[in-house]
Structure formats: C-alpha cells, structure tokens
Symmetry: C2
Subunit: 324 residues, 2 copies
C-alpha cells in the first residue's frame, strides 16, 4: 500500500453505522416514490432516508435539447459519481448529492445526505452497473404494464411538471428505445419484481385498487409465504413458477379486491417471521387521503421485512410506533 | 470485512493514476490563485488541475447574513465533504465538486473534476484537519504581512466582486478573530511558508517586485540550496534559522531587486537536482502583462520541484515545452 494511502487510512475515523441499502429501480412514473415514501414513514425519518439517483443528471433540460439522448441514457448521467456516492453511503459516509429540480429542469446547489440505518435509493438507473448493484442488500424493480405507466406519467407530468398530455406522449415515444436499452434490463438484476396491474378479464367496481404480482427471486432469502398461503386462497396466492427468463421464482399474487382481513393473515405471518417485539406498522398501504391498497401494503411489508432482516446487529426494536 | 464491503471492493476498478497533491493554504487575498495558475501553466492543463476548497461553503451569502460566523469558520463549510473529496482525488477518483459563485455569492450546480497527474488544492482551509493533511504530498502556506494582504483584498474585492473599500475594511475587521482561530494555525502544518513582502528600511524604485522569504521546513526533502547559495550572495541568500515556533528551518530570502541573471543561477541549480532532461519552464515568475518577479519565479520553481519529485514513477518527461 503506498504510504499516502496508508496515511489517509490511519487518519480516517470509522463511520458509526453501515446502513442497510434498498434499491427501487424502474422507468419514469412506475410508483417508485409512493413505495419509497411509505417505507420511510414506517421506519421513521430519523432512522431511514431516501435519495433519488435521477439527480445525477449530467445536463439540464436546456442542454439536453441539443443532445441526441434522453435522461434514461447512462451517457446523460454521472453514473461513475452515482456509483461513488452509493459506495460512500453503503459504507456509512455522508455525500454532497447533486440536485435536479424537476419543476424547472435545472441543476441547482447540491444537498448534504447523511446515511441513516436504512437508505432507500430510487430512480431510473440504480441497478445499471455491477459496482452500483454491489452496494445494495435488496434490489427491487417496478414493472407495471406500459399502458398503466403511461397513464400515470401523463397525470403526474401534466399536474406537477407543467407539460401538456401531447408533450408527455411524444416524450414517451422518444424515450422508448432507451427504456428498452437501459431501464428494462435492470429487471433481471432485481431480487423482487413488483407489478401493479388490473387483473385481465375481471370487471371490478370502480375504485378497486390494482392487484400486485410479486416475483420473489431466490437470490435473497424471503419470508416463507408458501406455508401460510396455499395456492387455493381466493384473494391471494403464491405459486412456484418460472420467470420470463426461465429462472425459478415464487410468484405471489395479491388481488386488488383482497379485504383488510385477508391481507392481515399474510401480513401477520410475514411479520412474525421477523421475530420483532413491536406493533405492526399500520401506515403501510396508504394511497393518499383515506384510500388503502392491500396489494401495496403487502408489497411494502415485504420490503420492510428485508430492510429489518438485513440490519447488521438485527436489533429489531428500531421501528417507530404505529400511528393509526 | 463485512460481505457487502468486500463485494464493493471486488466490483471496483482501480483508478489509473494516483496524483501528486499540493496544498496552497492562506487567508483571503494572499496570492493563492496567482501562484496556482503559474504552476498549472508550467505543467500544462492536460497534466495538472487545480481546485479551490472555498467552494465547500455550506451557506450562500444571503444565508450567512443571519449567521454568527464568517466563511473562515469550519462551521460555515462542509469540511467533512472536503476531506472526502481530497481523499478521492488523492486516490485517483473523480469528484462532483460544489461550486460557489464569488461574484453573486450563491451556490450553483456542481462540476465534475477528474484528477490529473498533479492536483493543486488552494483555499482557506485545506490544511485544517488531520485527514485533509494526510492527502497532500506537499503543503504550502502563504503568509504576507497583514498590511499587504489588506491592500490586495481591497483591490480585488472592489474590482472583481463589486464591494466598496469601506465594506472590505469592515469585513476584514469582522473576520479577524476567525482568521486568528482557524486560518493562521495552518501555518504550522506547512512544509513551506512563503511570505511576499517589501524589505523593511529599503527604498526600492517604484515597480520593484516584492521580496520573498521562504521558510523550508525539513518535514520534506528540499533541493540542496545552501551549497549553491552562500549567506553572502547579495540578491538572495539562505540561512539556517529557527522558525517563530523554535523549529529549525532553511530561511531563503530572494530580494525583489534580484536580477534575471541572479535568479537564473539558483533556478538552474534547483532544476539540475531534479535530473530532468527538459528545458527550464520559462513561464514562471510572470505577474501579468510583461511584468516579472524573480522572487515569484523561484517560489514557483521550488513548488514545481516538489510536484515533479513526488511523481510515483519519477518519469520526469512530463513538462510541457517552455513557451517564452
């Protein structure tokens, strides 16, 4: 080791914590932020923090006008700096994170992010490189059907970012080749793939939440669901299956019409496998206002399970009290 | 080593170069930028880069109005992030450096800095912590007399930053306690202390450059000057001396009236000790326009000597051709 590197190592103070890191990857408007917010809320903001890696854009909106790629392209992002910052967070160090203002499309002053016990990283490209993936304990990919995602994107970009529906549709078309080339390949790298979608052929009453199809890859150790949930249960079931690429998975289905009581059974079973002496976090599944979604609650609970299960000391008294 | 840290290490690609790092510390308006620019020019911008660590300000000018400290206070700066970025550069990694716009007093979008063979780091606080100091091969402190520094600061802040002389004088007074507490203690940490000043009691003709007093601490191995330069030489001399704190130093004096021929003798002697087969860099000592300063040329040459002498492979064919 060169003398200067040794001198630097000797002058370093070891960080107090090495956080549990969860990645939530997915295309634009796939529900990453909704999922993330629910998890930070359940863990408490003093123990969990989240960052969006879309802030690592290399160019602002004006500069991109003259460039041949969209924000989905790794060329359009400081991927090497994203990798560096993920490593720093994963080893317990703070970062000065760049900030992209989605409202104005400009890059503004950076912000200090100090790691907490749990760091949730959401965005377009968190699983796009080997080094970035090495930073995560759990990797999730959000994979709604394209038709649903387009609806969500039109709604959000028109309401919050000042675009017209025609502009959003044109942008979706322009982005499609780079979605295919850079975003969707991350699906293969995820431990958990979550797809919120209506069930084909069913006519549920208006207001019924979307169902969830959750692919649980045996790349990490999931809670044992198959013993709780047979293939027979009406509102949710789990099946041994092959994923699109032929690899074995547990395919969990939670139907949108599942009742609070239905999902309670599964939630309790998952929760008990964690062996935490703490009330169940009642904040999961909230969609905003008084709306609830049992499929969302179960998806969030699965992620919460993995966050807690990966804590280095497995001291599971960390959850904030439920706030129902 | 925890499995995730190992996984991250295994996914890392070793950076190609580990730069030689030079710190130039000193209070506001001590000539850090002039010295730095001359060195980058002599080495060539494709081989050398410089950063200013005053960009790590935590607050913009407006926010500082309501705060009890000046930019000199470590509290007013992201010192931990500065340390982190210095470590990254010292080990050959790029950084996304914050940027403070001195003209407007605001924090703007960060900039990518990729390390070169030589990285020169100038600013108010680069030697303020043990970890920051561990990142440097050579540490310099600029120490002009306060009266000279005040003149320089008034001139620069009024010409380039839109202040009135009265505002600058008031600011200097406000900063004095924090200069004493945080800036000046870095003098003790430097391998080389450079003081540009007029010689007391002498009446040189107008336009004579300032003299240089250079304290060479034996914390690093300097070129042997005493064998070239006796104590008798009229325009420059070197003396065994004690620094203000009692530690032994070589005290080199280069008078402002030294002629080009005088300084040539010393420059050649220093240059030959490097054993580089390359023409002497003629760009040193330029003050802007056609003005030259032999004291500045010799101070820059000493720093250039250390930059080249610290190259890991000691491949000294790196200098760009002289451009006289």
């Amino acid at each position: 080791m060169p003398h200067k590197v040794l001198r630097i190592r000797r002058a370093q103070v070891d960080p107090p914590t090495r956080p549990v890191m969860l990645a939530i990857a997915g295309d634009s408007a796939t529900g990453k932020t909704t999922l993330t917010k629910g998890l930070v809320e359940a863990l408490g903001p003093d123990r969990a923090t989240s960052i969006c890696v879309d802030d690592y854009h290399r160019y602002d909106r004006e500069e991109r006008r003259h460039l041949p790629f969209t924000p989905l392209n790794p060329e359009c992002n400081y991927v090497q700096i994203m990798e560096q910052h993920l490593q720093l967070l994963a080893t317990g160090h703070p970062i000065l994170k760049p900030v992209y203002d989605h409202r104005t499309g400009s890059l503004v002053r950076p912000a200090l992010v100090e790691p907490r016990e749990f760091v949730i990283v959401e965005g377009l490209l968190p699983l796009s490189t080997r080094l970035a993936r090495a930073c995560f304990d759990v990797a999730v990919y959000l994979d709604p059907p394209e038709a649903i995602r387009h609806q969500w994107k039109i709604k959000r970009d028109c309401n919050d970012r000042g675009y017209t529906p025609e502009q959003v549709v044109a942008e979706l078309e322009r982005r499609e080749p780079e979605s295919a080339a850079f975003i969707r390949p991350q699906r293969e790298e995820a431990d958990i793939v979550i797809r919120f979608a209506p069930i084909e052929g069913r006519q549920d009453p208006p207001g019924t939440p979307l169902s969830a199809e959750v692919a649980l890859r045996p790349t990490i150790r999931h809670p044992d669901i198959s013993r709780v949930l047979g293939e027979e249960h009406h509102a949710m079931h789990v099946k041994l299956a092959r994923d699109a690429d032929g690899r074995p998975i547990d395919a969990l289905h939670v139907h949108g019409y599942a009742s609070r009581e239905d999902s309670r059974v599964l939630e309790k079973a998952i929760w008990e496998q964690l062996e935490v002496d703490h009330p169940f976090p009642e904040s999961l599944g909230r969609l905003g206002g008084a709306q609830r979604s049992e499929p969302l609650a179960i998806a969030q609970l699965l992620l919460l399970y993995h966050l807690l299960d990966n804590r280095p000391d497995r001291d599971l008294t960390a959850l904030v009290p439920a706030t129902t």
